[in-house]
C-alpha cells in the first residue's frame, strides 16, 4: 500500500504569533516555522505502518512557498520516502488545497491519504473533508486509532462525549487527532539522509488548478488583553462576585 501524507508548514506552535502592524495578517518574517503538529502525527503513523509492513511507500505532499520544502524534509528525515512540493506564493484556502491534493492523489493512486485533522495556524478543519468528497473516498476524521483490515480501515474517532469506531472501505482519507501517537524526532544521520531523498516540484498551473483566493481578509486583530485578576478575601465574597459581576452563578 502506498500512503500519501499531506503536510503543512505553519508558525512553530511554541512561538507567540503577532499580528502585522497593518492588520493584514500575521507576521511571518523572521518567524520560526515548523510542521503542523497534527501533520507530524500523520507522518509518524505512516512510518509505523511501513515499519509493520502494512505500507510500502510514503509520499509526503506540501503546498505553499518554496520553504515548504523544509517541512517535507522533516517528514523525510522521520522516515517518509519521497516528497512532492506544489509550489505557490498565493495564500491557499482549504478548497484550493483540496483540489491540488486531489490532482496529485489521482496521479499517485495511493491506498490511503492520512493527514492532520486541522492546521494550528487557521484551525479550519476542512481540507480532509473536502478532499474525500472530491475523491468520493470514505472518510474518517479525528482518528485516534487505526487498524488495517483486508478491505477496510477500522478507526476510532474522538467525538463529543466519547469514542466512535467506524469501518472505512478502502481507499480512504483519514484525518488524525492528538492521541493517535507521539511522533518521533529524526536523528541527525537521518536528517542527513533525508537531504538526498527526492522532492518533485509542481505548480498549481501544471496541475490545472485555480488557487485564486475566494475569501477576502478584511482585518486581523489580536485577541483583547486579559485583564488583571483580583484577590478576594473570602469564599462568600467569591460567590458574590461570581453571581453579581461575572454572572456565572444564578
Amino acid at each position: 500500500m502506498k500512503v500519501v501524507v499531506p503536510v503543512k508548514r505553519v508558525i512553530d506552535a511554541n512561538i507567540k504569533v503577532r499580528v502585522k502592524a497593518d492588520h493584514s495578517g500575521v507576521e511571518l518574517n523572521n518567524v520560526k516555522m515548523a510542521m503542523n503538529p497534527f501533520c507530524e502525527i500523520a507522518v509518524e503513523e505512516s512510518i509505523r505502518m511501513k515499519e509493520s509492513g502494512a505500507a510500502e511507500e510514503i509520499v509526503v505532499v506540501a503546498a505553499g512557498p518554496q520553504q515548504s520544502q523544509e517541512t517535507i524534509r522533516t517528514a523525510l528525515a522521520m522516515g517518509a520516502d519521497r516528497g512532492i512540493l506544489i509550489q505557490t506564493d498565493v495564500p491557499l484556502e482549504p478548497l484550493a488545497v483540496s483540489k491540488l491534493l486531489k490532482s496529485v492523489i489521482e496521479r499517485e493512486d495511493p491506498g490511503l491519504v492520512m493527514m492532520g485533522k486541522q492546521a494550528v495556524d487557521n484551525d479550519n478543519n476542512q481540507t480532509g473533508q473536502m478532499l474525500s468528497a472530491m475523491l468520493n473516498w470514505s472518510l474518517g476524521t479525528f482518528v485516534s486509532k487505526i487498524e488495517i483490515k483486508d478491505d477496510t480501515f477500522e478507526v476510532v474517532r474522538e467525538v463529543d462525549g466519547g469514542l466512535e469506531t467506524v469501518s472505512l472501505s478502502k481507499p480512504s482519507v483519514i484525518t488524525v487527532d492528538l492521541r493517535l501517537n507521539e511522533p518521533r524526532y529524526a536523528s541527525l544521520p537521518n536528517i542527513m539522509k533525508a537531504r538526498r531523498k527526492p522532492i518533485e516540484t509542481l505548480t498549481p498551473d501544471e496541475l490545472g488548478v485555480d488557487v485564486t483566493p475566494r475569501v477576502e481578509v478584511v482585518e486581523v486583530n489580536e485577541p483583547p488583553n486579559r485583564q488583571a485578576g483580583i484577590k478576594v478575601s473570602s469564599a462568600a465574597e467569591l460567590i458574590e462576585k461570581l453571581r453579581d459581576e461575572a454572572k456565572v452563578l444564578a
Binding site: I15, R18, A21, K32, S187, P189, M192
Partner: protein
C-alpha cells in the same frame, strides 16, 4: 510610574537585572529598570545556561568566578530556585598546544583562586562514561561550575532587587534620551518620561538601536548562535537510571562545541564558521522573542565530531534547533564601564556569555557607579578600548570572527585577520617590503617582527618560544649593540593648551609637571585607591602648552578622561594629534651618529640631554625630537606631522646604511623594555596595584598639593605596602618564557603573580615582572614560578637588570 530615579537601566535581560540587583544591594534603592517587553525576552530566554569559569582573561575570569559564587547563594537569599546544576565542566584536549593553553589558563586560575584539575584520559572516562576517548590526550576539569536556568536566575536577581526597593517597569520601551539643563538624563518611554542622574545601557541585541538614541557607536552587534536539543537518549537514560550522576558539561574545544545533559537528552552547541552577524542596523520591527531558522549545513562538522566523541548522540532524536541572536564584540569580551563623551552613561553591553558574566559585571559596574571605581582591573572589558573605527562593517566582520574563534586555541601572540588593514602609518608598504609580520592593535597595523631574507613573513603562534624567537632576538640585540628604527605611530598623542592648562593637568597626575620648557617626564594618573589609571609622557612646550603621549590602545580611554575633567570655560583645549602625527624611534648606541648626519642641531648629551625635547629638522621635515624611549638605550622619539613620515624614514635609512640600521618590531620592543623593568601601562600598571607597590614612588610628589589617590598613598606609606614589584630571572627553562599571569610560589603558598615576561635576549635571561608579598622583593630572594604547569626556580634580580644606572641611556 515614577518620574525620577537615581539610575535608569535600559534592558531587562540577565545583565540589566544583574546591574539593578547590585545597585540595590549597594544601597541605591532609587533605581528603575525599563524593559521594552518582558524580562529575559532578548537573548537570556534562549541562552543555554552554561556557567564556564574558564576564561583566559584575568579580568573576565574574576567576574565569572564572582557570578558562580553569587548564583549559589541566590536561592537562599531570594527563595527563587535558579536551577543551578553543579555538574562540573570538562574541557577536552587533543593537541599539545591545547594542553598548553589549559596550562597557561591554570596559572591565571591559580592567581584568582578558581579550583581546577588537569586530568588524564582514563580519568575522563571515569567522569564521563559515555565518551569515546579516541584522540584525547587529557582534559581540564572544573568541579565547581555547571549550568543554570537563565530565566530563573534573572527572576531571582529581580526579586532581590525589588526586595531592596528597586523598580522594574516591563512593557516600557525607551524612545528617547536627552540631557536636561540640570545635567541629568531624560529617558522618554512609551509610558512617560523619567529623569535620572545615571543611565545604564544593558540592551544586548538592541545596542545599535540604543546607539542611535545616544549618538555614539557601541561596538557590539549580535551573531547567530545555534544549539541542538535532543529527545531522551536511551544510553544516557540507562546510565542515569542506574545511579549515574549528571554528566559534566563537556567541551571539545578542538571541535568547537559544548554538550550538556538536558532532561535525559543532550544539548549540543557549536561555534560554527560562517555564523552571520545580525541587526547591524538595529533590530527590525517585528523581531520580538523570536528565533532564526536552524542552519544544518553550518552545524554538520560539529555534529559529526560530537557523534564521534559521544556515540549515543548518533541515534538521538533532534527535538529542536535553537538559533538566536547573541551579542558579540570584536574581541569577544563584553563592554563594562563608562561610555565616552557622554557624562554618567554606563555600558553593560556586548555580553556573549551574559548568564555567566551578569553577576560579576553587575557587581563591578555598580561599584563603579556608586563608589566611583571598580576594584578589579577592568581594562580588558572597558568600552573605551575601541575607537571610532569599531563600527558598521568592522563590527560585522570582527564579531563573526570572534564567534568562530570562541574555541580556537587562544595563543598569547594571536593576531586575527578580519578587517585588516584598518589603520596604517605612511611607511606601511615600506615595512611590509622589509618582511614585516603584522599585528593589529586599536585598529592600527604594527609590525610585530621582521622576517629576514629567506624566512617566510608568517607568524607562528605558540605558548612557548616560537619560530620568530631568534628574529626578535636579533632585532633586540641590534638595538642594544647598534641602531634600529621602531614605528610607533599608533601611540596616542595629545596637546593640552590654554591659559588653564597647567592648573588643569597638575591635580590629575601624581607628580609635579615638568618645569623647564622641553623637559619630559613620565606622569601617572592615579585612582582614588592609588592604583594607576593612565600613564602619560608629558613634555612642557616652549609656549606653555603640554604634549602628552600614551599607549596606542588608550586613545579613547585617555582622551575621554581629559575631556571629562577639562574645565568648561574654554581655558583649556585638548587636541588629539594621534592621527595627524606619526612617530619613529631611532635607538641604539649608534643612533646619535645616524641622526646627527641629518640635522644641524647638536645632539651631544651636553646640548641635548636625556629627557629633553627639541624641535629640529630632518631634511625638509620639522619634527619634535624627544630624547626618551621605551627600550632603554640612547635614542630619540621623532614626532612629526604624519605627511613627513616617509621622507624622514628614507633619510634615516640612507644615513643608517653605513651602520647597517635595522627595523625593530613590537615584540622586540617588549623584550627590550622588560630587560629595563619598564612597567607597561595596562599590564604591569593597573588599578589593582598602587603606584607605590609598583615601585614607582619616585614618580609621586606627595608634597605637590592635592591629586587623586594621594590620601590612599599617604595611608599606605604609613602602614607599608603589602606587595612589591619585582623583576625575576627564571632558571632552567629552555623552551618557554613567562608571559604574565603566572603564579609565584613559596612552597605551597602563592606569594604573588607575574604581570609580564619575556626572554632578555641581551642579558640572556628568561625574565618576569610581577608583584610579590612584601618581604619577597629583595634581590637574591628565591622562590618558584609556575610556567605552563611546571614550576621553575627563580630569583629576584635588581630593578632594570640591563643598565641599572641608566649609563647607556644618558650617554
Amino acid at each position: 510610574m515614577d518620574t525620577h530615579a537615581r539610575v535608569v537601566i535600559i534592558g531587562g535581560g540577565v545583565v540589566g537585572v544583574g546591574t539593578l540587583y547590585h545597585l540595590a544591594k549597594k544601597g541605591w534603592s532609587d533605581v528603575i529598570l525599563c524593559e521594552r517587553t518582558e524580562l529575559t525576552a532578548g537573548s537570556t530566554w534562549h541562552a543555554a545556561g552554561l556557567l564556564p569559569l574558564f576564561n583566559m582573561s584575568y579580568a573576565v575570569g574574576q567576574l565569572h568566578k564572582y557570578s558562580v559564587d553569587l548564583y549559589k547563594s541566590l536561592e537562599a537569599e531570594t527563595g527563587q530556585d535558579v536551577g543551578f546544576h553543579v555538574t562540573g565542566n570538562l574541557r577536552l584536549a587533543r593537541t599539545r598546544d591545547r594542553m598548553d593553553e589549559y596550562k597557561k589558563y591554570c596559572g591565571t586560575a591559580n592567581t584568582i583562586g578558581v579550583p581546577f584539575e588537569l586530568i588524564t584520559p582514563s580519568e575522563i572516562k571515569e567522569l564521563w562514561p559515555l565518551i569515546n576517548l579516541d584522540g584525547l590526550i587529557g582534559a581540564l576539569y572544573h568541579p565547581d561550575d555547571g549550568h543554570i536556568a537563565p530565566v530563573d536566575v534573572t527572576n531571582a536577581m529581580a526579586k532581590g532587587a525589588r526586595d531592596r526597593g528597586a523598580k522594574i517597569y516591563q512593557q516600557t520601551q525607551v524612545t528617547g534620551l536627552t540631557r536636561t539643563r540640570d545635567g541629568e538624563w531624560k529617558v522618554s518611554t512609551s509610558r512617560g518620561d523619567i529623569t535620572c542622574e545615571h543611565l545604564v545601557c544593558a540592551t544586548g541585541n538592541y545596542s545599535q538601536d540604543i546607539s542611535r538614541l545616544l549618538g555614539i557607536n557601541i561596538p557590539s552587534i549580535p551573531v547567530q548562535h545555534q544549539y541542538i536539543v535532543t529527545d531522551v537518549v536511551p544510553e544516557l537514560k540507562e546510565y542515569r537510571d542506574s545511579g549515574g550522576k549528571e554528566l559534566a558539561v563537556l567541551r571539545e574545544s578542538d571541535a568547537s562545541y559544548y554538550l550538556r545533559e538536558e532532561r535525559m537528552g543532550y544539548i549540543l552547541g557549536p561555534y560554527e564558521v560562517g555564523a552571520p552577524a545580525v541587526f547591524a542596523d538595529g533590530v527590525p520591527s517585528g523581531f520580538e522573542k523570536d528565533l532564526f531558522p536552524g542552519d544544518l549545513d553550518r552545524l554538520l562538522p560539529h555534529v559529526e565530531a560530537a557523534i564521534h566523541r559521544v556515540p549515543s548522540f548518533e541515534t538521538a532524536g533532534i527535538k529542536d534547533i535553537v538559533n538566536g541572536p547573541i551579542a558579540y564584540t570584536p574581541d569577544g569580551s563584553p563592554l563594562i564601564g563608562p561610555a565616552w563623551d557622554l557624562p554618567n552613561v554606563w555600558l553593560n553591553e556586548g555580553h556573549s556569555f551574559g548568564v555567566t558574566a551578569s553577576g560579576g559585571a553587575g557587581w563591578q559596574l555598580a561599584e563603579w557607579i556608586v563608589e566611583g571605581e571598580p576594584t578589579i582591573d577592568l581594562l580588558a572589558v572597558d568600552p573605551r578600548r575601541y575607537g571610532d573605527y569599531a563600527r558598521g562593517p568592522f563590527l560585522v566582520k570582527k564579531n563573526e570572527e570572534a564567534y568562530e574563534n570562541v574555541f580556537t586555541v587562544h595563543y598569547p601572540d594571536e593576531e586575527r585577520p578580519a578587517c585588516r588593514p584598518a589603520k596604517t602609518s605612511p611607511i606601511h608598504d615600506r615595512l611590509d617590503g622589509m618582511g614585516a609580520v603584522w599585528g593589529q592593535r586599536y585598529g592600527w597595523e604594527r609590525p610585530n617582527w621582521f622576517a629576514p631574507d629567506g624566512v617566510e613573513a608568517v607568524d607562528d603562534w605558540s605558548f612557548r618560544r616560537s619560530k620568530y624567537f631568534e628574529h626578535v632576538g636579533r632585532e633586540h640585540n641590534n638595538i642594544r649593540n647598534n641602531v634600529g628604527i621602531i614605528d610607533i605611530t599608533s601611540f596616542s598623542k595629545f596637546r593640552v593648551s590654554g591659559s588653564g592648562a597647567e592648573t588643569f593637568l597638575d591635580p590629575l597626575v601624581a607628580r609635579r609637571l615638568p618645569k623647564a620648557p622641553g623637559r619630559i617626564q613620565l606622569c601617572h594618573v592615579l585612582t582614588k585607591n592609588g592604583g594607576v589609571r593612565s600613564e602619560f609622557t608629558v613634555t612642557r612646550n616652549t609656549d606653555g602648552s603640554f604634549y602628552l603621549v600614551s599607549s596606542g590602545a588608550a586613545e579613547r580611554f585617555d582622551l575621554s578622561f581629559l575631556n571629562k575633567h577639562r574645565p568648561d570655560d574654554n581655558s583649556v583645549q585638548v587636541e588629539n594629534l594621534t592621527t595627524s602625527h606619526a612617530t619613529l624611534v631611532v635607538a641604539g648606541p649608534n643612533s646619535r651618529k645616524v641622526l646627527q648626519k641629518l640635522t644641524d642641531t647638536d645632539l651631544s648629551s651636553e646640548a641635548f640631554p636625556w629627557l629633553m625635547t627639541q624641535d629640529i629638522y630632518v631634511g625638509v621635515a620639522p619634527l619634535r625630537a624627544m630624547r626618551v624611549n621605551f627600550v632603554g638605550e640612547l635614542g630619540w622619539e621623532l614626532h612629526h606631522p604624519i605627511e613627513y613620515q616617509r621622507h624622514i624614514f628614507e633619510q634615516l635609512m640612507d644615513a643608517g646604511q653605513e651602520f647597517n640600521i635595522g627595523q625593530c618590531g613590537m615584540r622586540a620592543m617588549d623584550s627590550l623594555r622588560i630587560e629595563k623593568s619598564y612597567r607597561m601601562w595596562g599590564q604591569d600598571l593597573t588599578r589593582e596595584y598602587t603606584i607605590l607597590e609598583a615601585g614607582l614612588g619616585i614618580f609621586v610628589h606627595m608634597d605637590k598639593g592635592d591629586f587623586t589617590g594621594r590620601d590612599a598613598l599617604r595611608a599606605q606609606k604609613e602602614s607599608g605596602v603589602p606587595q612589591e614589584f619585582v623583576t625575576v630571572a627564571v632558571e632552567g627553562i629552555t623552551d618557554a618564557d613567562p608571559l604574565g599571569n603566572e603564579p609565584l610560589w613559596d612552597g605551597e603558598k602563592m606569594i604573588g603573580r607575574a604581570t609580564a615576561g619575556s626572554y632578555g635576549h641581551f642579558i640572556e635571561k628568561s625574565l618576569a615582572l610581577g608583584y610579590v608579598q612584601t618581604g619577597y622583593g629583595k634581590p637574591g630572594t628565591k622562590f618558584e614560578i609556575e610556567i605552563l604547569g611546571d614550576r621553575y626556580n627563580c630569583a629576584v634580580v635588581e630593578n632594570s637588570p640591563h643598565d641599572p644606572e641608566n649609563i647607556r641611556l644618558r650617554s
